[in-house]
Symmetry: D2
Subunit: 344 residues, 4 copies
């Protein structure tokens, strides 16, 4: 008796995250990619859009039309902009499909926060209650069997995983958390802009959207939920001259002195058995290069004893654990598959 | 008695080449920048367009309007697209100004070649006879006092300077010349495109416009003029993941054996006294890094004796010697100023 | 009945090529990595040497000692410098193991050529006759069952695959072939030098070892064997500011005019069924980015009709098809496994 | 009457900082470079060490030998490692020369701090009292006429200039300051290492020496002096895949709410008339690209009102304002020359 194959679709197939998804899913032994849709004028071979995927077997990319999706799909990945994602989620769920949404549309429980942060009306607010936040290391049980999974943002993934083991303990001074984050240029998406022009991005490093980035509220929301109380987080993103990779350097004031060993044990215990978390030995610091094109999360925790402060450094690949790899991880968890399928 | 100051204007002030020109001219002891014009909606400080020039003293950039140019200008640099440049050159020349045009509009003597290669009608064909090709190392006398100077293309600059010392001698097999050229991304201009997106250009190397690049005919034209007979040149440009820099690797079949020493002497003699040509010692090869942000041309000549072939490697900065630095060099030559003013 | 598993060893486990091999073999469904050896002072976890492989299951790296190799190995990959590789090959072959050697030691049939080019005495000349050159697309039959496989150099791989479909036909003017090749910095190996220092390599492009690179003779040797007559090839390598990727721009003079369609068909016919060769459609040119971390070879053929010259552009990943991927491909071919195992 | 020319020497002429100094001083209208010394085996032309300086006029680099220095020098720049610098400073001062030292040897007033942080005995502790810390924007009066100037570290330059306008006011909660700093690879110096290998540094971002970097104590020392009370500063440096450029993102908790306008005015007032400080308008953030190869310091101040925290972002070129440009600025200040000579 062979293992069943899950039939999946992908809408928004021209995004960088779609390219990553296709690359991962092509190696996934329990998945068949049945339908690809995007804003295209005519059916387009995947290799014409993503030259690196030329010669691999995929269906052509068709225009976006839910009616044309294969009948017996099990799940659909949405690589669409916010609001577009929510518009497509509802009819897909009605058809009984599971939806893994890579946009921000279902990441908040609170409608008002979403509408304030994104400056739009939510197209399907009735689904917010149904959605689960897909960060398996913090809430795996709720993802098992879930039909609507909100894949986290890249910055929140790196930042929340830096803090999760601490937040249940009464260790950190509220309001003291600072997340100084750094992202490769692919985080800015596929559309060419002045900022993503090679000649502007290369040999350039800059902060952007200081105190104004949308992920700030997602980080605060998740950190506060884990803590059981409100935590304000200062979040400053920076653009780095590299293609992929994300780094969070997270600072938190300690309420009272703790030893490095205790903190290390706290992290080890919280992340015990996690297949994608690599807590680094104490002479090693994370490097984005080491997680590139993988779903791994490299974490190091240091104590600045002199200033009674924790310094957690965390590296992920923004397109994998920060997007498409985590989407597949959520898919695996949702359907009860081994969590690393297609990912290691 | 102090040296006279030359008043200059610059039209097309938002291009990468304009940024370089401003940077060079700001250090030029005999120049006053009096007018900057570009497609802007309102007068715009230079520092708002080019963050690196913030805090330096320049007039604001105004809209393009020849009537508003300062009355007593001596010269105008045109950083405009082809055809737009030619449209503006005529009225400027009528006012008695000298024009240094960085576009392709006046690089050909033959109207038909221009119109075929660029696929447009020339807006001012009557000026072609008046224009001089601004490659001082090959035709300095004609540039002195010239009122309309066609600044060469970047690829032709690197390639023609690789070949110039050879072409008067009957050394090279006609049709045997191949110019395998490599350019940094700034050569593609300021407009953001898929090809200049950091995530596509980084860790990427690709040939483009093989046998179809417009500079091919400019190279053939100049090489043939220097040789006094028609020379076909195969030209293949490549895009390299760096901001600035251009490299020409030029191959030419020898009619009969020559020694490396003879060839070296031929180059030394041809380029004797040239302030920007650096003929490298025989254990050194050009590196774009060494000419970055300079007007230097680093050249090395090797003989592949086994195959009776010359291999000339040449590095320039595509934005400086390949564009704006050469424009200032032409300006200096035209007005009889020391050729290195503002450039070394 | 399950498929048999092949037990393999790897000597020289600290090289960049070893890192790639481990990454590929970790996904290979028919391989068990049993022994890793390198110049280490004590047994060292793979993750301490290659941070990206931390957390994956490998044996520790032990010191180089053939006596300690697992008894029932099937094959050993050698990632050693030349001469060191040959020294280890003989005893391994005597034990009945198959050897895939990534060094240059067994790439030549002619002892004198090897000793002249590499400037050393060959430690095991008696094995030269036994060795097969592991470029499956050109000589697959001889690799099946072979016990000593000389994995080709990266430049020869890209260049020979650019030319192979042409060489049996009497199309190309002897002596007219020029291979202008470009390599990412990883081609220079793991040892830090002035040339590989980020600050020297970044924003830098330079030719090196013009007419003096060792791969020139390997290219000439292979091209001449395919042609059945001696072909001289001018070969100029360039260093490009990227990590991985290799590009060959190959020029060849045609004896008589041919159409682009005929040439294209020649290539299609020669490479029909090849799983790793992607002949690109005529509006697309190879890009190193599209083959990064894959075993694919992207090839485009253009005819410069005006100058009766072929221009073939070819992109590979120097560490994969140019080294470790091809080594696994050879392993698969040698043992009669599906050729793409572990590689697609 | 012409302006007097200052004769200068440079010891340690092979460092990256020496290359920058030579480039700046070559354009300095009041300087003559009379002597270059470094660890060389024979007199070496500058162009052989720094290919970009080939063809410019410099004396050859000789071995280090103070006795051979030109007799009538006015000043010497030391680009030597710590302790070596101090060893050479004493005899130079005795000869009546002014010394601008780019090492850490004279940056501390407190001998014990220096010896603890650098883990060495100071070779010339008697000179500590004589030395002035060469950050002109914070202590120009003491630099005028100074004979021994300790050129600040790159990280302290960026961090202290981010904080200086605040420290005299009783605004910042002591112990709350965090400096999250990012540096290009040239900050790691010229020696090739695993960390500076292109293949490791490219597409890589990592924190290093968290809570252990030597510049931390220099930052605390300077900030505390400016404040008139002890301030602990958490300092985390990161290595960024770019050649040059440094970024400080500095966080400080406010004792009580302040408006952005007040803070902005505080900075404007403190830095009024400073030729190298560019306080950016409130819609612009610093970018290392905009200060590359310049002595400018781009600063932006933001208030995170929600968390009552200041966020100051500052960009410098680590090799210019962070080293050689500041050295020339100090030279100019010391000798009473216009401060921007050679630098704008």
């Amino acid at each position: 008796m062979t293992d069943p194959i899950f039939k999946i679709g992908l809408i928004g197939a021209r995004a960088f995250t779609a390219r990553e998804l296709l690359q991962i899913l092509a190696r996934h032994p329990r998945v068949e990619i049945c339908a690809l849709q995007a804003r295209v004028e005519r059916p387009t071979p995947v290799g014409d859009v993503f030259g690196n995927l030329r010669g691999l077997e995929f269906p052509d990319i068709g225009e976006i039309d839910l009616a044309r999706l294969t009948k017996d799909l099990h799940a659909v990945f949405l690589c669409l902009p916010h609001t577009a994602a929510a518009q497509h989620a509802a009819p897909l769920l009605e058809r009984g499909l599971r939806v893994i949404d890579l946009s921000a549309d279902f990441r908040y429980k609170d409608l008002k926060t979403y509408e304030r942060v994104y400056g739009v009306r939510h197209p399907a607010p009735e689904l917010l209650a149904k959605a689960v936040y897909g960060l398996p290391e913090t809430r795996r049980p709720s993802i098992i069997g879930a039909s609507l999974i909100a894949n986290p943002g890249c910055y929140p993934t790196a930042t929340v995983l830096s803090l999760a083991p601490l937040m249940k303990r009464d260790l950190v001074v509220p309001g003291s958390i600072i997340a100084d984050c750094k992202s490769g240029v692919s985080g800015a998406g596929r559309t060419p802009t002045d900022g993503t022009h090679f000649c502007n991005a290369n040999e350039s490093l800059k902060a952007y959207k200081v105190t104004e980035h949308r992920h700030e509220s997602e980080i605060e929301d998740q950190v506060s939920r884990l803590a059981g109380e409100q935590h304000a987080v200062t979040f400053v993103p920076h653009l780095i001259p590299m293609d992929r990779g994300m780094y969070a350097t997270v600072y938190a004031q300690l309420k009272e002195p703790v030893t490095a060993e205790n903190i290390q044990r706290m992290f080890e215990s919280y992340y015990e058995g996690e297949p994608f978390i690599r807590l680094l030995p104490d002479n090693v610091l994370p490097d984005t290069k080491n997680v590139a094109s993988t779903n791994f999360v490299d974490i190091s925790v240091r104590v600045d004893h002199k200033r009674q402060r924790l310094i957690i450094t965390t590296a992920i690949d923004n397109l994998v654990k920060g997007a498409s790899g985590q989407a597949v991880q959520n898919f695996n968890v949702s359907f009860g598959l081994p969590e690393t399928l297609g990912l290691i």
